[in-house]
C-alpha cells in the first residue's frame, strides 16, 4: 500500500456509516444529476436570450431566476441527505446569492464596488453608475474589445457623494435652488459661482485621498520610472449617453501627481458651470441624478490627434465617415481652436479616402514642461502636410468601426497617435445622427428588404443579433486564417474556438453546424459580432467573395449589400444590448452562471467560496460523486445488489452494480462478461472503447516536464500514475448507465439514458483531466470540445473541466454518440504528452474524426433531430 492509499484509508474512519439503504442514496444521487442538468439547461436558456433572437420581458427574468434558485435549493437538500450533513456553508452561500438577485430584481443595484477609486482595467459598461458613462465605455473599449487606451483609474461617483457631503454642499445647493425664483438668470449665475467656489476650496476626505494615492502607486509601479502626467476628465452620469453634454464639462490636461487634487476639484466644480447646470435643469434632470466621476488617465504623447465620426453628418455624403486631425493634442481639433485636416472615407471596407482637405496648421497644442498646455509654432514643412498617412487612416477607420459595431450606433471617437505610431482611443461617445428622414427611411427599408434576394432565413440559432454587410470568406478546416480579410463575413462548417482569432476582423459569422452555447458563441456575444450557427446550409450556399448582408436580429441572409438595413440598424432609438431588461438579465446571468470553482484539488474548492449558483452546482456535483464512490467502495454490505467485476481485455478495473435488468448475469454472480451487458449506453460505450482501436497500447514516453508539473498541484482524485487504473464503478439498468471512470490522469463521468422514448434520452459527459501544464491542458480541452461539438453535443469548457450534453435523439443515434464517447475516452487517455503544439490539436482532431467515423455511421433514414428541442 502506498502512502496516498494509506492516508485515504486513514481518513475514511471519519466517514459516517450510511443510515439509509444504497438504493435510496443512489436515487438522491440521480436526483442531483437531474437537477444539475436542469440548472445547466436554464443557464443555457438565459444565455440564449442574451443572443438577441428572442423577445423576452421582465417577467421572464423574474421567472427564470426563481426556477434556478428553486432548483439550487433542492440540490443542496439532496446533498444533505447523501452526505448526512447540514451543509450550513452552502445554505449561507445560497442565501447570499439569492439576496443579491432579489435586490437586482427589485431595481436596487447591488453595488459590488463602492471603492472611491477603480482602475481602468476593472471597468466596463456595467459599472456606469460607479464610473460614469464616459469611463465605463472606455472600460468596454479597453477590456472587452482589447483596444489600446492609456492606463489610468477613475475616482467614482461614490467619492463624489462623499466629497460633496463632507463639504456640506448638497444642503447648500438644495436651499439655494429652493430660494431661487427660476427666472432671475443673474441670481442663478451667482448660485453657480458660489457652489463652484465652495467646491474649489473644499476638503477631499482622507479615505478618498488615500485611495487615489494607492492607484497612483500602482500606475507608478507599472511605469518606466519617469514622472507620470495625467489627463483629468469628467465622467458624469448621463454624459456621453443619450444626452451628450458634449464639451460642457471640464478636462484638465498635463497634470502631475501633486496636481491631481486640484484638478479633481476643478472637474467637480465644472459640474456646476452655469451652462451645464442649465442644460440639466432644462432636460429635467433631478439634482439627485447628478453625479460626477472623474477619470485620471496617463497622457498620450500625442504627435497627431483628433476626432472621428463613424457616420458623417453631411447630407451630400451617403455612407461616409469623417476624420478631423491636427498636430499635437486633441483640444485643438475638438474645440475647433485651430485649423485641421479633414478626411472623408467610405464606411465600407477597405475604407477608401473619398476626399482629403489639408488645413494650414501654423500652431499646435502641446504639453508644457512646467504643467498644463501651451500653443507652439508648427515647423514650416509640416504646416501644409497632411498629418495622417494612409496607413494611420486605415487603422483608425477599422478601430472606429469596431467600436461602432459593438455599440450598434454611430460613434464620435477621440484618438491620438504617438511618435512611435501607436494609436490610442481617448474616448468614444454615441453620435446623434439621423442619416435620412424617418419617413423616407421606412420606405427605403421596406423596398430594400422586399426586393432583395433572400439566400436563406430562419435556419439555425442566432447567437448574436445585429446587421452586417460584407464579402464572404469560407474557412476550410485546416485554414490558418492568416489571410482572413478585414470586414469579411466568416462562413465555416463547424463552430470552433479557433475562430476567436478573427473575431475582431469579422463583421459576421455563419456556420453549418454548432452550438449556440459553445466557446465561439460566447466570444461572438462578447464582441457582439452578428452570428448565426447551425444553419445547415451556409457553406453549401455561399462561396468566398460573395457579397451578402446578414440580418442576425431577424435571422435572414440577403444577397448583396443592403445599405438601408445597416443604416436602419445603427439609427434605431434604443439598442437592445443597452435596454434595461437586457442589462438586468446580463447582470443576473453573471450571478447565476459564472464559474469560479474549477479545480477540486484547489484550496478554494469549498462551500464558503461559492459566489454563483453555478459554483454551488459544481461543488455539489463533485461532492455527490465522491460520496457515491465512497459508498460503493466502502459500504458494500449495505448494498442490496452484488457488485460484479467486468472481465474485459481492456484493463478498466470496472465494478458494475446492476440495479434493474442491466445485465443477463445472475444476481449473485461476482463477475460479468462484456456480452452479458444489456444496458444500451454501457454496451455502446464499451464497444466504442474497444472497436475503435483507440485504446493506445503502445507505451508512451513520459515527458518529465509535463509529469513534474503535476506535483505543483495538490493531491486530488486526478492524481495517479498512467499505468494505474483506479477502481471504477458503473451503476446500470435496462436503459440507464452512470459511470465513473478514472484512467491514468483523467476522470470521466458519464450519465446516460437510452431507450425507445426519444424525449427521455440524454447523455451527460464530464471530463476532468489532471497533470500536464496549462497550455497542454487547454489544447486537450480544445480537442475534446471540438470533437463533442462536431457530434452535436452542447459543450461547456471551464478550465480543465469539460461538460458535454446531448438530448432527445433517436436510440440509434444516441448509441452512435455513446460509441464516440467510448472512442474519445480511449483516445484521450494518454493524449497530453503528445499535445506539444497547436498543430497537434488539428492533427488529432482529423485523426480522431476519421477513425471514429467507420464505427459510428448511422443510416440516413434515422431522422436527425434539432440540436435542442425547445419546450
Amino acid at each position: 500500500m502506498n502512502v496516498i492509499e494509506g492516508l485515504k484509508q486513514f481518513f475514511r474512519f471519519g466517514s459516517p456509516q450510511p443510515t439509509l439503504p444504497f438504493s435510496v442514496l443512489f436515487k438522491k444521487f440521480r436526483s442531483v444529476l437531474e437537477r444539475n442538468n436542469c440548472i445547466l439547461e436554464l443557464m443555457a436558456d438565459m444565455g440564449d436570450k442574451l443572443g438577441g433572437d428572442y423577445v423576452f420581458d421582465r417577467q421572464y427574468v423574474v421567472d427564470i431566476s426563481e426556477r434556478v434558485s428553486d432548483l439550487v435549493f433542492k440540490l443542496i437538500s439532496d446533498l444533505c441527505v447523501m452526505n448526512q450533513c447540514e451543509n450550513v456553508d452552502l445554505f449561507i452561500a445560497f442565501e447570499r446569492i439569492n439576496y443579491e438577485i432579489q435586490e437586482e430584481l427589485a431595481g436596487r443595484r447591488a453595488f459590488p464596488l463602492t471603492r472611491p477609486a477603480i482602475l481602468l482595467d476593472e471597468l466596463n459598461s456595467d459599472l456606469d453608475d460607479e464610473a460614469g458613462n464616459k469611463f465605463a465605455n472606455l472600460g468596454d473599449i479597453r477590456n472587452t474589445l482589447g483596444m489600446p487606451t492609456m492606463d489610468g483609474f477613475v475616482i467614482t461617483t461614490k467619492a463624489f457623494f462623499d466629497f460633496m457631503s463632507a463639504n456640506g454642499l448638497p444642503g447648500y445647493i438644495e436651499h439655494s435652488l429652493a430660494a431661487w425664483d427660476k427666472k432671475d438668470e443673474r441670481a442663478f449665475d451667482a448660485i453657480c459661482h458660489e457652489v463652484r467656489q465652495r467646491i474649489l476650496k473644499g476638503t477631499i476626505p482622507r479615505h478618498i485621498v488615500s485611495n487615489i494615492n494607492a492607484m497612483l502607486d500602482i500606475l507608478k509601479a507599472r511605469g518606466n520610472g519617469g514622472p507620470l502626467v495625467f489627463a483629468v476628465r469628467s465622467s458624469a452620469w448621463g454624459e456621453d449617453s443619450e444626452y451628450s453634454f458634449a464639451g460642457q464639462y471640464e478636462s484638465v490636461l498635463n497634470v502631475t501627481r501633486k496636481g491631481i487634487p486640484d484638478a479633481y476639484r476643478r472637474v467637480i466644480a465644472g459640474t456646476y458651470a452655469a451652462e451645464a447646470w442649465r442644460y440639466r435643469l432644462h432636460r429635467g434632470y433631478q439634482e439627485s441624478e447628478t453625479a460626477m466621476a472623474v477619470g485620471c488617465q496617463l497622457m498620450a504623447e500625442a504627435e497627431v490627434s483628433g476626432a472621428m465620426y463613424t457616420y458623417a453628418p453631411l447630407p451630400q455624403q451617403r455612407e461616409a465617415m469623417v476624420i478631423s486631425a491636427a498636430w499635437g493634442l486633441g483640444p485643438a481639433v475638438v474645440g475647433g481652436e485651430a485649423e485641421s485636416d479633414t478626411f472623408i472615407l467610405d464606411r465600407h471596407p477597405p475604407h477608401m479616402v473619398l476626399s482629403a482637405e489639408t488645413g494650414h496648421k501654423v500652431t499646435k497644442l502641446v504639453m508644457d514642461p512646467s504643467g498644463g498646455t501651451v500653443w507652439v509654432d508648427v515647423a514650416g514643412p509640416l504646416q501644409d502636410k497632411p498629418c495622417l498617412p494612409e496607413e494611420y487612416i486605415q487603422r483608425l477607420a477599422q478601430a472606429a468601426m469596431m467600436i461602432e459595431s459593438y455599440y450598434k450606433h454611430p460613434q464620435d471617437v477621440e484618438w491620438a497617435f504617438d511618435g512611435k505610431g501607436n494609436l490610442y482611443i481617448l474616448q468614444s461617445r454615441p453620435l446623434n445622427v439621423r442619416p435620412n428622414q424617418p419617413e423616407d427611411h421606412r420606405l427605403n427599408i421596406e423596398q430594400a428588404t422586399r426586393s432583395a434576394q433572400v439566400l436563406f432565413s430562419g435556419k439555425g440559432s442566432v447567437v448574436q443579433g445585429g446587421v452586417a454587410s460584407g464579402k464572404v470568406y469560407v474557412a476550410n478546416e485546416d485554414d490558418d486564417l492568416n489571410d482572413f480579410p478585414y470586414g469579411a463575413i466568416l462562413v465555416a462548417h463547424y463552430t470552433s474556438p479557433k475562430y476567436s482569432r478573427v473575431m475582431r476582423k469579422a463583421r459576421g459569422i455563419l456556420t453549418d453546424i454548432g452550438s449556440p452555447t459553445g466557446h465561439m458563441a460566447t466570444l461572438a456575444r462578447e464582441y457582439r459580432v452578428p452570428t448565426v450557427v447551425n444553419t445547415g446550409v451556409a457553406t453549401k450556399v455561399l462561396k468566398t467573395g460573395d457579397e451578402v448582408t446578414l440580418d442576425a436580429s431577424q435571422n435572414v441572409l440577403y444577397e448583396g449589400t443592403i445599405r438601408e438595413l445597416t443604416q436602419f440598424e445603427i439609427t434605431q432609438g434604443e439598442v437592445f444590448e443597452e435596454s434595461y431588461e437586457y442589462r438586468l438579465l446580463r447582470r443576473l446571468f453573471k450571478k447565476v452562471s459564472l464559474l469560479h470553482l474549477f479545480d477540486p484539488s484547489s484550496e478554494d474548492f469549498k462551500a464558503s467560496r461559492c459566489r454563483t449558483f453555478h459554483d454551488i452546482t459544481r461543488f455539489i456535483h463533485e461532492k455527490a460523486v465522491e460520496k457515491l464512490i465512497d459508498l460503493s467502495e466502502n459500504f458494500q454490505k449495505y448494498h442490496d445488489r452484488t457488485p460484479k467485476r467486468l472481465e474485459s481485455v481492456l484493463p478498466l478495473g470496472l465494478m458494475i452494480i446492476d440495479v434493474e435488468n442491466g445485465t443477463s448475469a445472475l444476481p449473485e454472480a461476482k463477475t460479468l462478461k462484456v456480452d452479458q451487458i444489456v444496458s444500451p449506453p454501457m454496451k455502446a460505450f464499451l464497444e466504442g472503447l474497444s472497436e475503435s482501436g483507440m485504446w493506445e497500447t503502445d507505451p508512451v514516453s513520459v515527458d518529465l516536464g509535463s509529469f513534474m508539473s503535476s506535483f505543483t498541484r495538490t493531491f486530488s482524485s486526478s492524481l495517479a500514475t498512467p499505468e494505474k487504473v483506479g477502481r471504477n464503478l458503473a451503476v446500470i439498468s435496462k436503459e440507464y448507465m452512470n459511470l465513473h471512470l478514472r484512467l491514468g490522469y483523467h476522470f470521466n463521468i458519464l450519465d446516460a439514458y437510452i431507450g425507445d422514448v426519444l424525449n427521455d434520452n440524454y447523455i451527460y459527459f464530464r471530463f476532468l483531466g489532471g497533470v500536464s501544464d496549462f497550455i497542454r491542458r487547454s489544447r486537450r480541452a480544445r480537442f475534446i470540445a471540438e470533437v463533442l461539438e462536431r457530434h452535436d453535443f452542447l459543450v461547456e469548457v471551464h478550465g480543465d473541466l469539460i461538460v458535454g450534453r446531448l438530448k432527445k435523439l433517436p436510440k440509434e443515434r444516441m448509441v452512435a454518440k455513446m460509441k464516440v464517447l467510448g472512442g474519445l475516452v480511449g483516445y484521450t487517455r494518454q493524449l497530453d504528452v503528445s499535445m506539444t503544439s497547436d498543430a497537434q490539436v488539428e492533427f488529432h482532431l482529423a485523426e480522431f474524426m476519421q477513425r471514429i467515423q467507420t464505427i459510428t455511421e448511422v443510416s440516413h433514414d434515422v431522422p436527425m433531430c434539432e440540436l435542442r428541442t425547445k419546450d
Binding site: K49, D53, Y54, V55, F56, D57, R58, Q59, Y60, D63, R442, L443, I445, E446, Q447, T449, R450, S451, S457, G458, V462, D551, S553, Q554, N555, V556, L565, F568, Q572, G573, E574, F576, S579, Y580, E581
Partner: protein, 134 residues
C-alpha cells in the same frame, strides 16, 4: 415584384404589451418586414386607438394592469371581426389558450418567443386574411 408595390396600403399592426421592451423589440422588426406599426403600453390608450382606427393585425399581451388582454381581444373582434389577433403571454395555460381561441384569436404565442417566429406568424395570418378576402 410589381412596380406599384409601394402604392398598396401597408398592413397596419397594433402592439399592446405593458412591458415597453416588447414593443421596442417588435416595432423595428415589423418595420423592416414592411409593416406599419403602432405600439402601446397601457390598455386604455390602445383601446381608445382601436375605437378610432381599424387595424389589420393586433398583437396583445394577456395579463396587464387595467383592462386585461382577454377583454381587449374581445373588444377588438367586436369592433372589427376581420382584425387578426395574436395573443402573446408569459403565463400560458391551456385554459387561457382555449379562452383566447374561443374569443377569436388567430394564434397564441408563449413569451419569450423568437423574433423570426412572430414575424412568420404574422405573415401566415396575412396570407390567410388575403385568401379569405378574395
Amino acid at each position: 415584384m410589381s412596380p406599384c408595390a409601394n402604392c398598396a396600403p401597408k398592413t397596419k399592426i397594433l402592439i399592446l404589451d405593458d412591458e415597453p421592451i416588447v414593443g421596442k423589440r417588435l416595432k423595428p422588426a415589423f418595420q423592416k418586414a414592411g409593416y406599419e406599426v403602432e405600439t402601446f403600453t397601457d390598455s386604455a390608450s390602445a383601446m381608445a386607438r382601436v375605437e378610432e382606427q381599424v387595424f389589420d393585425i393586433v398583437i396583445t399581451d394577456l395579463k396587464m394592469e387595467g383592462t386585461d388582454g382577454m377583454h381587449f381581444l374581445a373588444r377588438v373582434k367586436e369592433l372589427a371581426p376581420d382584425t387578426g389577433v395574436i395573443v402573446i403571454t408569459g403565463f400560458a395555460t391551456p385554459e387561457s389558450a382555449k379562452e383566447s381561441f374561443r374569443k377569436g384569436a388567430y394564434d397564441f404565442v408563449a413569451k419569450p418567443f423568437k423574433l423570426s417566429d412572430i414575424v412568420d406568424t404574422v405573415r401566415k395570418l396575412e396570407e390567410r386574411r388575403r385568401g379569405g378576402a378574395g
